[in-house]
Symmetry: D2
Subunit: 365 residues, 4 copies
Amino acid sequence: MTSEDLAEDLQNADLESTPELEQLYADFAAAHLAPLWTQASEVLTFHPRSDAVPFVWRWNELYPLAARSGDLVPVGRGGERRAIALANPGLGGAPYATPTIWAAIQYLGPRETAPEHRHAQNAFRFVVEGEGVWTVVNGDPVAMRRGDFLLTPGWNFHGHHNDTDAPMAWIDGLDVPLSDHIDIGFFEYGTERVTDEASPDISRSERLWAYPGLRPLSGLDDRVSSPIAAYRWEYTDRAVAEQLLLEDEGHPATVEQGHAAIRYVNPTTGGDVMPTLRAEFHRLRAGTSTPSRHEVGSSVWQVFEGRGAFVVDGVRHEMDKGDLVVVPSWIPWSIEAETEFDLFRFNDGPVIERLGFARTHVVGR
Amino acid sequence: MTSEDLAEDLQNADLESTPELEQLYADFAAAHLAPLWTQASEVLTFHPRSDAVPFVWRWNELYPLAARSGDLVPVGRGGERRAIALANPGLGGAPYATPTIWAAIQYLGPRETAPEHRHAQNAFRFVVEGEGVWTVVNGDPVAMRRGDFLLTPGWNFHGHHNDTDAPMAWIDGLDVPLSDHIDIGFFEYGTERVTDEASPDISRSERLWAYPGLRPLSGLDDRVSSPIAAYRWEYTDRAVAEQLLLEDEGHPATVEQGHAAIRYVNPTTGGDVMPTLRAEFHRLRAGTSTPSRHEVGSSVWQVFEGRGAFVVDGVRHEMDKGDLVVVPSWIPWSIEAETEFDLFRFNDGPVIERLGFARTHVVGR
Amino acid sequence: MTSEDLAEDLQNADLESTPELEQLYADFAAAHLAPLWTQASEVLTFHPRSDAVPFVWRWNELYPLAARSGDLVPVGRGGERRAIALANPGLGGAPYATPTIWAAIQYLGPRETAPEHRHAQNAFRFVVEGEGVWTVVNGDPVAMRRGDFLLTPGWNFHGHHNDTDAPMAWIDGLDVPLSDHIDIGFFEYGTERVTDEASPDISRSERLWAYPGLRPLSGLDDRVSSPIAAYRWEYTDRAVAEQLLLEDEGHPATVEQGHAAIRYVNPTTGGDVMPTLRAEFHRLRAGTSTPSRHEVGSSVWQVFEGRGAFVVDGVRHEMDKGDLVVVPSWIPWSIEAETEFDLFRFNDGPVIERLGFARTHVVGR
Amino acid sequence: MTSEDLAEDLQNADLESTPELEQLYADFAAAHLAPLWTQASEVLTFHPRSDAVPFVWRWNELYPLAARSGDLVPVGRGGERRAIALANPGLGGAPYATPTIWAAIQYLGPRETAPEHRHAQNAFRFVVEGEGVWTVVNGDPVAMRRGDFLLTPGWNFHGHHNDTDAPMAWIDGLDVPLSDHIDIGFFEYGTERVTDEASPDISRSERLWAYPGLRPLSGLDDRVSSPIAAYRWEYTDRAVAEQLLLEDEGHPATVEQGHAAIRYVNPTTGGDVMPTLRAEFHRLRAGTSTPSRHEVGSSVWQVFEGRGAFVVDGVRHEMDKGDLVVVPSWIPWSIEAETEFDLFRFNDGPVIERLGFARTHVVGR
């Protein structure tokens, strides 16, 4: 039975109008009450039906627009960031990529600084190209370079400054749409400039935490979010490359034939980097196609390198370097890699799993 | 610094309009993009600012309206339930008590049956008066009586039937607003009639699970939600009564002087009964006042017995038996008990805590 | 291949004696070193081979001996308790029922008091007959009655006093053999008399904690051990009785056909009552036989009511009310119930599971 | 009050001998019973009093003895390993470093192979000098080099082979004494030769798992033990070096002034590498002294590099490269670093913590 059928049934629930019924409905409205039976079809659906729609944003459109705002819009207190958010066409103009995820391109011109602040919302950055900006998280300067995944967990002060004469742009991901919906937002101003303008190759957090299977004895308490501020490209690249080599050698390593992937995790728990956001990096061999999957929860993918296609809800989208695609909850998706295809993915997986709602359906299995 | 100040600052972010800027904004809109700097004040607030507002619904208005719908609206497939939801005046007419919580009065006439179905959303019922209805959860008939708290965790088939010649009404609580927002809803029809029309005093789930500190060896796997279908009034009443007696005897037992309370929990984990909903029962001695509290997350309270007042955001509301009040996130609230004051409370605490956003501020501490 | 075979192999490891080899072994000894190869058969076995042996103690022998000590041995500081421990014949006279479990009969004469003390070791008591003693745990008097299971988790002060003119005896269970082996013992004296000589029907801990699925809001922090001082017979009896009734009605409830059982649990976690000791109560219908099981870890069973037999390592032991039998690790055991057969069991299950060593083998499955 | 005092008290428990009492004790013995009151002082101590004693083994004695056994004792099935265990002088000649920990030097001559087997007991190896041996864990060849920490969790097949013309020796650590005491041992033979004689620089497990904060999507299930077979010296060295540099720069990083340390952890949980064994690496600056500590649980330390002293129970032991010292439960210990002092430590911390017995006392705090 399809959702349409339910909608159908639910029409049957619409009663013949009578003066008494009209009066009842009027009295409901006056008393701030709403009957279930007239709107059950929106409240109860046979499967998730998101208002968000699948949509693709092209890097070669995004970047020039960001660059133009670099010329026209100053960065500073009040506006806080020169960030331009993906606004899902299904979400009525709200600056939301999905009902739970904020995704934006942020642009910082030569020598510019985005002032420090902190908020309860969790944030990360992913760099598809460029370098030269340091994000300063609680006073720890973190270099941003192509392929790096960088964290700003909730309530950590952070600012950004461009230490070069070239502009830089990257992707921001936050849980703002979810946070706004459930009303958890706190915000506080920090300094106008970043608190430490040093430009080290790696952050203090990495020097303390970023080792395989080693934990500082001074850091034995578990953390809600990962203490690693930057997950460097060299490790991500090597991890997925080795999975494909191990597959070549006949050992289990990949998610499925030709498809390598890692999840960025919190080393104090082995779980997701932050309580509301999951991030992964995927590498598909040229020619690999994945089966079509339905997943509860919404995702955003960005092409890091290579060329291929996403088939979302039956529609094929050619994707190139930097392009972003949104996959709403339960919309079937699959990937076809034309060349070796490197993809960054983030989603609300931890939210769905922690609340007990996770489901996946692989078509044909 | 207040939120108003931030809004103030953010005005400063509004740039002088120029043709280039207008063109840029137009191009953003055409590309389904939205700049942060023009709306940072809505996206980032100094503290939670819910669209939901504090509001009180009166039992002596709710019940007659429910009774009238009993005469005018049949119960059956399609509409599914004769449930009338509290529609928070701040939420634009949606049938939502808060952004995360659905609360409704459900009414079942003599000998009526609400057909079986199941949904991913979690649900419970609380009975402020009456009896005679059995809710049948996965084939297990569960008697509903005054003071009982009853569970229908996600994806359990359930229907209700009134086994008497008198109508009965009760409160339904669900995570529908959250579930709809994050797009996790699944729904399936069950039988038109309840699958078991027996009317036992207690359910099989209670016979297997409802003992203090005893667990069946056949049920050693932890459950996402509590296996206890009904939490009976006799235990709740005794638990809060004993807390007050222990306080009289000089032993720690109550939350604060004159304020006893229990949380309904999942015996397999000791945690909340369901992953998205928390439920508690509170008893205040006559004359007790609580300090004013800010909490992240939204709550609904219903008066079970007695008379008193809720002071919410500085406004005093006299409350009587059956009355319901909504407290949105971070809105300060306190309680004044005129008589001994028994209160049922439910909220989205597990969501807030599992996602790492919990904060509480007790005014003057 | 059997353990004997390994022993056989290992003989082969014994080398032909030469002066050089003898000198090497002498030099090892002088340097406090021991080679693996001469003793691998004790160090590495094909399956657990406990020094402890299956053994049965008869209540009608235990009780009279306890009573005689009541006449000859005072209770007081220094000796601390009039407890007589089961000394497994395989353990060289140590007062240990198994390598991890201490089990003793404790006897308190009319009006006698056992002084207060506390120790890091975890303890419980189980009452197979009699009443009239209150154990006072951290100042909370806990009545002891037939069928009750009572806790004294590590580092809680406790003493016992007999409030009647009749003697009383019960079973003590502790993790002393394990604790002594891993060297964790701490001990502290309390008062000479119990700190509260009241004789209430139920303890304060029960008044605060012993309700099905209810948790005091003043006790939301998880506890390493259960806060319930007494698990009362009325609930245990009803829980197993209902499992058998549910089985009669055709519903899943029992462990296996005719075999009902509950585990005593910590309501704050749903797990075992204490970190080192597991306790269960089993009821078998008359005529029921269980399959033969091998389990890693050692258990002690006591017959609470009824008549039947334990077949341990192929040897059949008729068991009557109060009789105790020890089942060492991996020794196969099964039960045959002649009448309805009520059994109390305790073991080191939490230790085995928390350390990752749990295995079970059901013969013929 | 000291333990001696308790012993004193307990003498008082010794009653004047009478024929009746002697008869009672004789009857206890005949019935395999043991009274508490005659031996409470051994059963209950004011603080842990281990039979194990502090003791030092010298590498320059250990290694030559191992080399001599290399000439006189073949490696092969039956004896299984050429391992020579530290036999704590307090433990009656048992091959146990402490009541929970087995520590041995294992020696493999040129081109020798130790056959494959598996056992429930958990094992690791630490290399203080040399290289050239590959330990093959479940078919995955793992190179062993100076400073590496290598895992063989319970029930993984493993063998070792020396791929060079030089001998190699290393330290084995196992939970054998604990495992034997609680009777959990299983053992199974594997192949006579190692199943894979390749000699790669790094193991497949490292290629899949050993990246900072990255987890293969094919390995999302948590593991009881770490999936990383080798923790390489280069990371350990860098991690402790960076802690000292961060301390120089004025940032929190070390355990205490001049004392850097890491714990080897399971990346799927952030916890200890195996359920029964903890391993750490410590680096003290020249001239650093630690405060004296009492800890529940027993430890073994080995000097990896540098020169200093351990003060254990008030006795000062000069320690040099490769020397091992045992610290029994609750015996106070401190370290004095003469040069920069690198130390490998392993202990039963996970056992003590999982069973709820952890306590630490820092003298003078």
